[in-house]
Amino acid sequence: MHSEKVQAQAQLQVQVLELSYAQAINAALERSLRELPETILYGEDIGEAGGIFGVTRNLKQQFGDRVFDTPISETAMLGTAVGAAITGLRPIVEIMWIDFTLVAMDQIVNQAANIRYVSAGRLRAPLTIRTQQGFLPGSCAQHSQNLEALYTHVPGLRVGLAATAQDAYSMTLAAVHCDDPTLIIENRGLYHGEKQNVKVAGEIEPIGGAVVMRPGADVTILSWSAMLFQALQAAQQLEQQGISAEVINARWLNPFDWDTLMRSVGKTGRLVIAHEAVQTGGFGAEVAARVGKEMFGRLRAPVERVATQDCRIPAAPQLQQVLIPDAQRIAASVRALVDGSR
């Protein structure tokens, strides 16, 4: 008994490893499969091949039949996840590109999101959908959309977007342990970036919770996923120009950490939301509406959004570039906002 206890504690002891974003997800998946016998992991090319981005490398070899390749059948894959989840398994499905979730949106929106509610809690669907999105130079119109707002519009789902390698590790684990259908939207531009220190093992955090990446006094910049790094760069540039920007990594859009955001905006009186998704109907619109209402008397300037222009996404890099915000554009918006409301 005593030795078991010691062992359990040892397992929870935090270790710090140098991992890329993709390796951090792999570590979270490995831990899930090792610790939770009810988990299964599947998707297109994720088994033998280790995934087209290498995120699931070696997991098939380690866990055998619990990790498997599927036909190119997103509806069957996600239907399987729903049916497996309501009958006691804890499936983790990889949908190779978020654009492909549209092929099987029925299973996410009409099925997974409804299960718990429509059955009055008698069924539950603890499933995780891992997918990835974002622009990279040359990515075509059907492999570059940022679709998080589609899924935040659906009650019953949870939606998270990991930006750092630590997010990738912790949020993947949180999603797997969550008893509701959860989408983890990764960004393939981040997969193989520089290795970062990632705390592994340790306790599983619950879903939700934003992180203040950088404190500041004049303006709050809210961002998520890859755009967060443009926001951080913008904040650096702004600092040299005498503007102190607080940068928040939203991490989870559902549940969204309103407390952290309101506290920050209460302090700075200004908010700029930067996201890679197109502007109209983006999650930034929801944030702007809520902050506009709750902080009406305390805002020193209108809430500003910096987003991709409302356009289809062209393949040619120089065409893409003019549509998508970057650090310069974020910094310019912030500067205009602050200068106009001093």
Partner: protein, 323 residues
């Protein structure tokens, strides 16, 4: 199709008849309550198709699981869901199997192995894959049944599901309730080839067409495939031929149906045939009337119980959205 009637033993046939009458009278009571606007919204009745549910369920064990469609009241009752709890669901009562959140077209009752109706044509087949995968991984020899109309045979989800079940050798029986109408349109006009069971062969799984108005034939066929599935031989498709004696939904005028079609169908519908078969075994018609009267009072009492139950509480409307 009458000549294909399989004569089951009298006691078994009596059980089938009683179970089919229970579904029929439930649906008739639902019709009455819908007409009175006590039940509101879309209602899809299964009158005429009862033999499929009763026959298939007789081939399954209590461990097995069923996924049906929006025309699912019959499947629910065949699985053993108490009529009062089903009525209560349709009536938006606190005592409904889903506390009024599912309604006529989307309720489930997993405690009875009934994993629900689905209002998206063909979607249940994809979900049933997961239940079958669970069964396979547990190694408990459980089988899963997914039922849908022949209209769903033109949905991508069903094709994906058949291939997926086949490549994984899942213990899953696809039951196609072929009533010849895809909602309001004759299915024969929507396909070049009308033999749905043959599509199974394209996926490398067995498929067969049976008389869906004969519960014993359905039972025997499903039982054979279920046994094979329990042994790890994978899925199969059963195309059960039947006829809908009512519209696609309550209020459907059915102007698209040829004159006399329903009159003819009523001569070979499952309850009429079961009664005839039982009379041929020497059973007294008074005994059959007694069975029907008993079920009728059971259904009336169940409806009454549901009507007296409290309405689902609007102050709890946000409950059950998240864990």
């Amino acid at each position: 199709m009458g000549k294909d009637w399989t004569v089951a033993e009298q006691p078994v046939l009596t059980q089938y008849l009683e179970a089919m009458i229970r579904i029929r009278l439930f649906e008739e009571k639902v019709t009455e309550l819908r007409k009175q606007q006590i039940i509101v919204g879309s209602v899809h009745l299964c009158i005429g198709q009862e033999a499929i549910y009763v026959g298939a369920r007789a081939a399954l064990t209590g461990e097995d699981r069923v996924f049906a469609t929006y025309r699912g009241h019959g499947w629910a009752l065949a699985c053993g869901v108490p009529p009062a709890a089903a009525f209560a669901e349709l009536l938006g009562r606190e005592t409904g199997v889903c506390k009024g959140r599912g309604g006529s077209a989307q309720f489930s009752a997993a405690d009875w192995g009934f994993y629900g109706e689905n209002s998206i044509v063909g979607a249940g087949a994809a979900i049933a894959l997961g239940a079958a995968l669970s069964a396979k991984m547990e190694g408990k020899r459980r089988v899963v049944v997914t039922a849908f109309g022949e209209g769903a045979m033109n949905q991508g989800a069903v094709h994906e599901a058949m291939n997926f079940a086949a490549y994984q050798d899942l213990p899953l029986i696809f039951i196609c309730e072929n009533n010849s109408y895809s909602e309001l349109t004759p299915t024969a006009k929507m396909v070049r080839r009308n033999e749905m069971y043959q599509r199974a062969h394209g996926y490398g799984i067995p498929g067969t067409r049976v008389d869906g108005n004969d519960p014993e034939t359905v039972r025997r066929t499903v039982s054979g495939f279920a046994e094979a599935a329990r042994q790890g031989q994978g899925p199969a498709l059963v195309e059960a031929m039947t006829q809908r004696l009512v519209g696609h939904y309550y209020g459907d005028m059915q102007s698209y149906r040829p004159k006399g079609e329903i009159t003819e169908a009523k001569k070979v519908e499952p309850i009429v045939r079961a009664r005839q078969a039982l009379l041929q075994t020497g059973m007294d018609s008074a005994e059959l009337d007694r069975i029907e009267a008993e079920v009728r009072s059971e259904i009336e009492a169940a409806a009454q119980l549901a009507l007296e139950a409290p309405l689902a509480d609007p102050s709890h409307v946000m409950e059950h959205l998240y864990a």
